[in-house]
Point group: C2
Chain length 321, copies 2
């Protein structure tokens, strides 16, 4: 850190299917300036990338000394080659995102997937600051994960590691998700939580959820389930407890395989808060091996910025060997 | 490597509940001399350690230049502090094995658990030679695992990582193993395979297994199941296929979490060979994400020596920074 000039910055990019965000960041995780643009994937990868380049150039003009760029992208992607393998929401396939950005900007570019960089953001600047060994789990439409051991992201041979959402917790499940029976993401992510609540409502069970959804059962999402659970609605609590049990077993597996010192829980589903975290901790206490039973499970602190700040941290890491 | 004198050796120790083995090893995984002694844990940790020290001293006399000692021990243990936390087969608890050996021998001692060192042995000298990113799974009385990424063992914050046998593949299982429902080790290790076969036999199903066990159903172990399966016995094949399905899902989880380039399968249960490996590969091809569907699943090559040679590799690593 001391070797870096005080006026140095990096540019962080967080690419999503709806929007992309670009920020000029300092070494402490501070955001000097930020912009957000619509991704408009229907215009094609080249146009999306050109728009990212233009936004980055505008921010670059605000700093006398931009050292590099970090990019959080949906995956799967290969962080070693910088190629995004395929992203259905963008309709991308084998896009050499890193090299195209680097050529256009004339700056070194580092890239990794959004879950890994959210983990890095929380570890560098958020809920896991000061810990060298952590796991980050994001619960939303899917279930994503990043693991940092010895201050380094666990990437694997091709950078595809830590796909917790795609691990099975029910080998003989009738629910098959991308070929894998009982995949955690299929059983317990936001859509599964919504489906479970909708099924119970369709059976005629009474619940505050009917009111929250204006009587339209198909409008019930994980957000309403969280809201109703926080208002002590019995059906919503049962649904949340079931999801927490399943996710909790997935987290026990994660603990036993990676031995982190702390687990950060992020993502939109986790915004329901303690009503979800409490039964998650109960499952870990009940089912994990003794050394893990009181491991801290804490909420993420950076909200929507975890991936963006992780991208900044990744760009900084390239200058701090 | 080139910096090491040609006549240098290390001492490797493989500690088990019944026997311990000590070997004088060269840098290529060659064993110059080896001895085996009964462990006799009932005599207490101090006596067992004294006997290991004596055996190591005798081998040390055969080399002009012993650089250090590597020890494979049952776990869980902390490789950073060198303390064996607890081992029921030895009746050990919080034994500072590394420091006691180091003090007595006057040599640097490295220690890790047997599954991790079997992984290292196979990666340095066996079936995974030349691969920087591998997983090793041992199937016997339990299910053990070691993972190497970027040529380094994945250890976690306290060195307890990669406990694959203690991950759940059935979150709502009635079978609870050390508190964890549906733990892989409880569902599919050797004793589970034997129990499944015995149950089917008790229901009166006909099988070669009756003959192999001399008519005594309770004598049927995973070994007989493997033998009968290799002779195309229908019941034994069904049992092996079921176990392979469950283990295969556990391996898919391992792949999705660590992204190794190769998986080595060892342990006594794996000695049944292709009759087990074939359905394991089928499960991976069917259930893993596309990048993993044709990942090599290969048998271990070092047999009983994988842990011993891994201990040697660990000792060498301390001299090759």
């Amino acid at each position: 850190v001391t070797a870096l000039p005080d006026n140095a910055h990096v540019i962080a990019i967080d690419l999503g299917g709806t929007n992309f965000r670009v920020a000029l960041c300092d070494a402490r995780g501070g955001i000097v300036r930020r912009v957000r643009h619509a991704t408009r994937p229907e215009e094609g990868a080249a146009t999306v990338i050109a728009r990212m380049v233009q936004a980055a150039r505008e921010l670059e003009a605000d700093s006398p000394n931009v050292l590099g760029v970090g990019v959080a992208s949906p995956g799967p992607l290969n962080p070693f080659t910088g190629v995004v393998l395929y992203v259905s929401t963008l309709n991308w396939r084998d896009v050499p995102l890193r090299d195209e950005l680097s050529r256009a900007l004339g700056l070194p570019v580092q890239i990794n997937n959004d879950a890994n960089l959210a983990a890095l953001g929380e570890q560098q600047f958020g809920a896991a600051r000061g810990h060298a060994d952590i796991a980050y789990v994001t619960l939303s439409t899917g279930i994503g994960c990043g693991v940092i051991l010895g201050n380094r992201l666990v990437l694997g041979a091709r950078g595809l590691a830590t796909e917790l959402g795609n691990t099975s917790v029910e080998y003989n499940s009738p629910h098959n998700y991308s070929g894998l029976p009982g995949a955690l993401e299929g059983l317990a992510a936001g859509p599964a939580i919504a489906a479970l609540a909708q099924r119970a409502l369709a059976e005629g069970r009474s619940s505050l959820l009917r009111e929250l959804a204006g009587g339209r059962i198909e409008q019930v999402s994980a957000r309403e389930v969280g809201e109703a659970a926080n208002r002590a609605d019995a059906l919503a609590l049962a649904v949340v407890n079931h999801a927490a049990r399943v996710i909790g077993i997935g987290i026990v597996n994660l603990l036993h395989l990676f031995d982190p010192a702390l687990v950060v829980i992020g993502g939109s589903v986790a915004l329901m808060g303690e009503v979800l975290l409490r039964p998650l901790r109960d499952t870990v206490r009940e089912c994990a091996m003794p050394p893990y039973q009181s491991i801290p499970l804490v909420p993420a602190q950076l909200g929507d910025d975890s991936g963006l700040l992780g991208a900044a941290a990744l760009a900084w890491q390239a200058h701090r060997p």
